[in-house]
């Protein structure tokens, strides 16, 4: 089980940057001065990217900790 926790830790670590890239490309793709919805306005995206950047970094740190065995279950 500890081995699986560590391997998946690597996955979480790599998922962080991918999520960030998806967020940025979604913003670029959807911001449109002719659109009426919230997803077309720059301000919601600025707020969401601002709050999600530390969350994504936190997710990567979580992955790093998991990979390093910080969440391993101690052997009985």
């Amino acid at each position: 089980m500890n081995q699986l926790k560590r391997i998946l830790g690597l996955l979480w670590l790599l998922t962080g940057p991918i999520l960030f890239i998806i967020l940025i490309t979604s913003a670029v793709h959807n911001i449109n001065s002719n659109g009426n919805g919230d997803i077309n306005k720059p301000l919601p995206w600025i707020i969401i990217i601002s709050i999600f950047t530390p969350i994504v970094i936190g997710f990567m740190i979580f992955g790093w900790y998991a990979f390093k065995g910080e969440y391993d279950t101690p052997n009985p």
Binding site: M1, L4, K5, L8, W12, S26, N30, G37, D38, I39, K41, L43, P44, I47, I48, S50, I51, F52, I55, G58, F59, I61, F62, Y65, A66, E70, Y71, T73
Partner: protein, 503 residues
């Protein structure tokens, strides 16, 4: 440890205040269309910008910020005075929103003042929950902590219930026109000051948490709770685990089962406003006792198992349940009583014009199962006979069977909420030491609930812009987040109940 009578006083004082804070926060959301019309007119770009800020900044930035500000305060000066402060801040802001004159009266000051008050609401909410949950948890016996703290957990849903109940009652008493076009919408905001005054009076008579008092007497309180919570690896890794293994999934289940469902039946199923909200109200009443049931069961079965089961059920069943909701209201599959259909047509001059006319056609249809549907089509025709695109609105009033089915589906989804939310206060409290508990548990809770949960409508809209999507596609966001949280929680969380939280 408190006597049973003392425990109930603690729970009542804490829950009443938290319930009122949720009520205050929700009435702004529920009345957002009216508020937008009164304070943030589309014609003014600055007001529209402030409106967007009020929607997004209050939930996404200010709530987690409030968690840090008041969490720190709660770990430094104590739980009691901190959550008294959040209550006064929330009640005062809500009351003042009800007092601010509209844009038509004071111009640009109106949206600015409302924005500031909304941000104060977000700040106060960020500080309230952690204080109330910690305060109750630090008073109760360790073997029943899940049970007793689950009463705090009912307040968020009961706050929604109270806000919907007050809004519907005022709307009915004052009349729809006075409510939407007059000033009657202000009453739910003004009422807050009475509720808050009662709650402050009750809370003032309470004592500080015994665990915090003990730490204080021994001089062991934290000097810098923020640094200890997020700067020390031992604690920070638990903050991250709480967020990605529990509160992230809890937030999306929480939001989707209640608010997304409410919006779905209003906008996708076109259920009439009063019936839609009554359906939600009844479903909330049916499901609310399950907060206590699952909170209590978590003392025996462990917090993790119940919370993760709720996430898994949501991830697996959201699409079939929402499909059922849609089909319940779908009149294309119902047998129409053709002889009862009525068609009304009216034409009138467009306001301010002497030649352009507005043509309104209303078709009312009745169906075998008791459902009634009104389809209204409005089209403007200019003097030169140019026709605008017709705007079509549908309003469906379900028959008895359809109404009961919809209540059952939504109540089932709220039961998922009770599974993830009922035990989570006890779970979070047990994860962190007393000296930094308020700070450490508040942040992951408000990021999970406010950010991950609050993003459901935005991401759902984003998903529906992709090719090949339909009315259910927006659900992929809560499904994926809940599934991810389920995997992380299953692997990394312990199901063992930590009975010793007294450090």
């Amino acid at each position: 440890m408190q006597s049973t009578k003392g425990i109930w006083k603690v729970i009542t004082a804490s829950s009443a205040g938290t319930l009122i804070e949720w009520y205050d926060f929700y009435i702004f959301g529920s009345l957002s269309t009216i508020i937008s019309h009164k304070f943030f007119p589309d014609t003014n770009p600055t007001a529209a910008l402030l409106s967007t800020l009020a929607t997004f900044a209050a939930g996404f930035i200010v709530r987690p910020f409030g968690a840090l500000v008041f969490g720190r305060l709660g770990d430094l000066i104590g739980r009691k005075y901190t959550f008294l402060l959040t209550l006064v801040l929330m009640g005062g802001s809500t009351f003042l929103i009800g007092c601010v004159p509209g844009y038509a009266t004071i111009g640009g000051w109106a949206p600015l003042l409302v924005l500031l008050l909304r941000l104060l609401q977000g700040l106060a909410l960020g500080g309230e929950y952690g204080g109330a949950a910690t305060y109750v948890a630090e008073h109760v016996p360790s073997n029943r902590r899940g049970y007793y703290t689950s009463f705090i957990q009912t307040t968020a849903t009961l706050g929604l219930f109270l806000s919907l109940g007050v809004i519907l009652s005022v709307r009915r008493i004052a009349g729809v026109d006075a409510f939407t076009n007059g000033d009657a919408w202000r009453y739910p905001f003004l009422l807050s000051i009475v509720l808050v005054a009662v709650s402050v009076f009750i809370r003032l008579r309470m004592n500080e948490s015994p665990m915090f008092l003990k730490l204080k007497t021994e001089g062991k309180t934290s000097v810098n709770p923020l640094k200890e919570s997020f700067g020390h690896k031992t604690n920070f890794k638990m903050v991250l685990l709480a967020l990605f293994g529990a509160t992230m999934g809890q937030g999306v289940i929480w939001y989707s089962s209640q608010f997304y469902a409410q919006n779905f039946i209003l906008t996708k199923c076109n259920i009439e406003y009063e019936q839609a909200n009554t359906i939600i109200l009844i479903a909330l009443v049916i499901a609310t006792p399950f907060f206590i049931i699952f909170g209590s069961l978590s003392d025996k079965w462990g917090r993790k198992n119940i919370m993760l089961a709720g996430m898994l059920l949501g991830a697996l069943l959201y699409r079939p349940i929402f499909q059922q909701l849609y089909e319940t209201a779908d009149t294309s599959k119902k047998v129409i009583l053709a002889d009862q259909t009525t068609i009304k047509y009216a034409a009138e001059l467009v306001k301010g014009s002497t030649a352009d006319s507005l043509h309104t056609t209303t078709i009312t249809s009745y169906f075998e199962d008791g459902t009634k549907q009104k389809v209204t089509s409005k089209q403007k025709i200019t003097a030169s006979a140019e026709k605008s695109t017709a705007t079509v609105t549908k309003e469906t009033v379900l028959g008895e069977t359809g109404r009961l089915n919809m209540i059952a589906y939504i109540a089932l989804m709220v039961v998922f909420v009770t599974m993830v939310y009922g035990p989570i206060a006890a779970f979070l409290v047990e994860l962190f030491p007393t000296r930094i508990r308020y700070t450490s548990m508040s942040l992951p809770y408000h990021i999970g609930n406010g950010v991950f949960g609050g993003l459901v409508p935005f991401i759902a809209t984003l998903i529906t812009t992709l090719p090949g999507t339909n009315y259910l596609s927006g659900l992929w966001y809560p499904i994926i987040v809940a599934s991810l949280c389920f995997v992380i929680g299953s692997l990394y969380l312990s199901n063992k109940v930590n009975t010793n939280i007294g450090d």
